[in-house]
Point group: C2
Chain length 293, copies 2
């Protein structure tokens, strides 16, 4: 999974010889200003792609900032691919701060006006799912995990996992059950969700308990993460000591039991059309007595 | 809101004079290895706080990596405050990638084993709320926004906003209504939620429609974001052309109307105790017919 960035990083520095200040200014004049795209919020984004000597870059940036200031621009975004990490320090020295980073790039931002910024916030939450899969014998699909907080506790728990970037919650639940147990399912409902804070670094966590209907029944467990998997009578699942001692687990187990008895209604997933994007958008809501639309 | 990082950034570079390779190695030997804290997943985290010359840092990092490799460590995390942006390039050249960034720091990571990494994913979602506040006359609190996608459309919409870092969804809904309209409310239920993708850069968006009960009725609108605010009969709100033409809005309006007629049950917010953290944790679920706990 590691990128080998060290080679390309060092070679692109060596490609440039030392330059004098006047040469730098001349080069900046020749090249002109940084290429930028405008957005709907009076902002501009510079997406750097090719290597550039720091001094040339700083000259271009200063000239461009001067123009954007005159034009009344507000937010200035600079996206630096990880191969151009040599430009991070100069951009920071010009007064930019970090906005967010992904594996392969760092986004920096500067707010020009002397007013509080209205820049969009960084992503704040990770999203996970727990899957409640119940068969017609009122048995629930449970696993014992090899790693993590449950290792060695002996607790039988619902299959869980992280929702990937760009993935729908309902799709993530189906995928995780298949990966961990080999069972094919159809998404049913979101039964409940939990929000926790400071779960990893400063980030928060949204965890959705999903009810799924099994389409297959023969378990083939994943060996790397799962120590054991089985169908367990729902009452036996609810009665585990761990579920009685931990309030969140106690509630979730009771909600699942209620659902298995037909006495609970969660949120169904409705695909909706949007004008802006070809990607799926789902609205999750209680569709009981909701046949008007 | 801008940090003035340029001064401190440049001064800490000038504080160091050029050094020879042998001096660098000697310094590294004197200082030893990088300070690191261990985690429960066979990982180590180095949190850099004081400025350090790049060459010294790289020597220490290489010696430390060698030790961690021998110890069977897996993930190596390096947290660089923005004041130490000069160390970003050397860390990348040693084979690290970006993991995430906040305004004031960049987190880099390297996975030592020759296996796929099991490092936690970056935060993937921003979270927002829309607030459905209805009074005893079956009037809903609506606003016209000065900026954003609704500017100039004439649409009366629910107050909306972004959930801040570390903020509970139920608290964010109450705060946004107070900020935009001056109305005091109590949180009632989450009526529905929507997941969209690619909403900003690569990130996804979770948007929660919350029903709130008003405790005050005199509107004092916020001038900077809100053009107008009023109490509007629910049917008039539902019948707006925009709400009929956009599927997601049509559903949400119908859900709100159902709720106003007492024919809809969403998810209530239950504070739950957790062992790990003093922060609030809420479980949101349908608590109708759920008095067992």
């Amino acid at each position: 999974m590691m990128r080998s960035c060290s080679d390309s990083g060092s070679s692109l520095i060596k490609n440039f010889s030392a330059s004098t200040a006047s040469l730098t200014v001349n080069r900046a004049k020749e090249i002109g200003l940084l290429n930028a795209t405008e957005d709907l919020y009076d902002g501009v984004t510079v997406e750097m792609k090719e290597p550039m000597e720091s001094e040339v870059f700083v000259s271009l940036l200063r000239a461009s900032m001067s123009k954007w200031r005159q034009q009344g621009k507000k937010g200035v975004w600079i996206k630096l691919p990880i191969q151009l990490s040599s430009l991070v320090e100069p951009v920071v020295q010009e007064g930019f701060r970090y906005h967010h980073a992904e594996s392969d790039y760092l986004m920096l931002v500067h707010w020009i006006p002397n007013t509080p910024d209205t820049l969009p916030e960084n992503a704040s939450h990770r999203v996970g799912i727990g899957a409640f899969v119940i068969n017609n014998n009122r048995e629930v699909l449970v696993v014992k995990e090899k790693n993590g907080g449950f290792r060695g506790t002996g607790v039988w728990k619902l299959p869980t996992g992280v929702v990937h970037e760009g993935e729908d919650i309902c799709a993530a639940a189906v995928r995780e059950v298949k990966e961990e147990t080999g069972i094919e399912t159809d998404f049913g409902e979101v039964l409940a969700f939990r929000q926790t804070h400071q779960s990893f670094f400063r980030k928060s966590d949204l965890f959705f308990i999903c009810m799924l209907r099994p389409r297959s029944f023969d378990i083939q467990k994943q060996d790397s993460e799962i120590q054991a998997a089985q169908w367990m009578p729902i009452q036996e699942y609810v009665d585990q000591a761990y579920n009685k001692e931990h309030q969140a687990f106690k509630y979730v187990a009771e909600i699942c039991k209620n659902k298995s008895e037909g006495a609970y209604v969660g949120f169904s997933a409705m695909p909706i059309s949007t004008s802006s994007s070809a990607k799926n958008t789902y609205l999750y809501f209680n569709n009981l007595n909701f046949n008007k639309l």
